[in-house]
């Protein structure tokens, strides 16, 4: 039988054999040899950027200085039309949530005399039974949900990346212990513990964000560890060590910049996960607490309204959750392809 896998697959992936191919989140990244997830190529067929990049052979592209590399990344990103469109939409959503409340004539807690009216010119998203303008509520909800999501993503990716980098860099017993801890955290459903702790900390959005980050950092840790395991064997690390660089310098100056691509992608994915987790918790009543408004708590309020024929109170908050999560996911997809030059090349 020819069922034996070719050796190349093993060599491509200098990760220890007991590591499952692809930790949580890795399937989005296609960062490991086993899974070239070329989603974006559906939009921009592989090789296009090489054509646009001139007649230079692809290998030369990596020899140019750092500034040009980012230009290259930008150019590749631009070719992912869906990602660019998503970036525009997300920007508009952020404007809606930040500038909107300043400009819009109603606040989320202003009561008007229009009770439970549907979407109209004076109330684009309608009003609730108290006469509060629903668009103002959605603005406030979007703002808080975005704030929490970005805090979770920044804190979670930051901690997870450093954790993973340290674990992968030192290998051996340190690595084993650190990764066992990750396995341990993964045995606990984030949503359940989030509900438990959210009930306690939900009245403070920053604490809630930290709690969520504490539950969602494991994905970054696993992926970054895998990347570091591969990067640390490269010649330039050996060169740095030969020149007498300290471990700290090697990790922060040489390893982290070289795994920056996956980290940026992980960040965007974590934003989407965080939005979905936070709104779910807030929906259950264990996330953001009254008087703060989250998109999730708006869905709770809209749930009964929708069955009573006032669907706008239910559809708009949900629509904005989808808008945020979807655009962020598309942007992450575009970034993944833009940041990983090997992804656009078809395998032989």
């Amino acid at each position: 039988m020819a069922d034996n896998l070719p050796e190349r697959d093993v060599n491509d992936e200098p990760v220890e054999p007991e590591v499952p191919p692809g930790g949580r989140g890795a399937e989005f990244l296609g960062v490991q040899g086993q899974q070239p997830g070329l989603m974006i190529d559906a939009v921009t067929p592989g090789g296009e950027d090489i054509l646009q990049g001139g007649t230079e052979p692809p290998d030369r592209e990596f020899a140019v200085e750092a500034r040009n590399q980012w230009q290259l990344v930008f150019r590749r990103f631009r070719q992912h039309k869906l990602a660019v469109a998503s970036l525009v939409v997300l920007f508009l959503v952020i404007l809606f949530a930040t500038v909107g409340p300043v400009v819009w004539k109603y606040g989320p807690n202003d009561f008007t005399n229009d009770f439970s009216v549907g979407p109209s010119l004076s109330h684009p998203f309608g009003t609730d039974s108290n006469g509060a303008d629903h668009m103002a509520q959605v603005m406030a909800g979007t703002q808080l949900s975005l704030k929490i999501a970005f805090t979770v993503a920044i804190a979670g990716t930051f901690f997870g990346s450093i954790y993973g980098a340290v674990s992968g860099f030192y290998r051996g017993i340190t690595d084993t212990l650190m990764m066992r801890l990750v396995d341990l955290v993964l045995t606990i459903p984030a949503l359940a513990v989030g509900a438990l702790l959210g009930k306690k900390f939900g009245n403070n959005w920053a604490l809630l964000a930290i709690v969520l980050a504490g539950l969602l950092w494991t994905g970054s840790a696993r992926v970054v560890r895998g990347q570091v395991l591969s990067v640390r064997e490269k010649e330039y690390i050996e060169a740095a060590r030969a020149l007498g660089a300290t471990d700290r310098r090697i990790i922060f100056r040489h390893i982290i910049p070289n795994v920056a691509g996956p980290i940026i992608v992980l960040f965007t994915l974590l934003v989407a996960t965080a939005v979905l987790t936070e709104t779910a918790l807030s929906y259950l009543g264990f996330g953001v607490q009254f008087p703060d408004i989250s998109l999730g708590s708006l869905v709770t309020a809209g749930e009964t309204a929708a069955t009573g024929g006032r669907g706008w109170l239910f559809y708009f908050p949900g629509l904005f959750i989808i808008l945020i999560a979807l655009t962020v996911n598309f942007i992450g997809d575009g970034l993944r392809d833009a940041l990983d030059p090997t992804q656009t090349k078809a395998r032989a």
Partner: protein, 322 residues
Amino acid sequence: MLAFTIRRLLVSIPILILSTFLVFLLVAWGADPLGDFKAKNPPPSAAEVAAREKALGLNHGLLVQYWNWVKNLVIHGSFGPSVQGSAFDINAELSRRVWVTFRLVICAIVIALILAVIVGVITAMKQYSITDYVATLIGFFFLSLPVFWFAILLKIWATDINNSLGTDIKTLGPPGGQWGGFGSWFGFLLLPTITLALSSYATWARFQRASMLDVLNSDYMRLARAKGLSPRRVMVRHGLRTALIPMTTQVTLDVAAIMGGTVITERIFQWQGLGTMFINAIQTQDTNTVLAWLLISATLVIVFNLIADLLYAVLDPRIRLA
């Protein structure tokens, strides 16, 4: 293989123990079972609070509490008293509800897995086709869908359809006995399972596609074709079988997320399963019930991990020596 199984089984035990400890710490930190009682107006006297604490064993240090909890669990098989009144027996509630939830979880996993494998393989074989593109977009959409919102939407649609057909609410109608009518059983299961399966499906389909693509591009596939095997045999025997291996890991990684998902799904569809019990327990700060739920969930995850590792060893010849 037997030695590997035993060794792997033994490794699971410390993980389970550590997991219970972590869970215990989190619960002790996150919940106060006497919070409601202390917040009463007029406030209860210190002696009353102390008496309650003693009854629940909260007067000991944290480590002693943990030890007592484990001892009680191992020796008596009991999850301890509940603050939801003496009529609320945690063990009885658990055994009544556990099957309800597991049925949901297993159905969701099976459905999501079958769909994901089919879609993943098709999109990989037709890479860059319109099918691939559309399936990818749909996958992205499901990935970005807030499950709770979508579940409510499904519920609204289903009620509308039932109303417009002039029938009673079918999916929420009276059960014809747990096993009596398969139709009603299926009806109950339909929407919650779809809800729970969708988000996992999106991830798994992408993973399956990537893993299938990897296999399709490998040398042994070319060899299999070159030596004249039929395309079907190449795909199924050489391609699909190998491409399924990484899925075992992916599925087990998501079991915890699915258990978390049941909390939402059961709440929306009014299922009297473990998820609803968990929500009630958090609302009443019933730490022992929360602990019981988390323990069951962690055990499920660890068991799935164990199964995946064993499957992996059976399926992947490279692992067998390890």
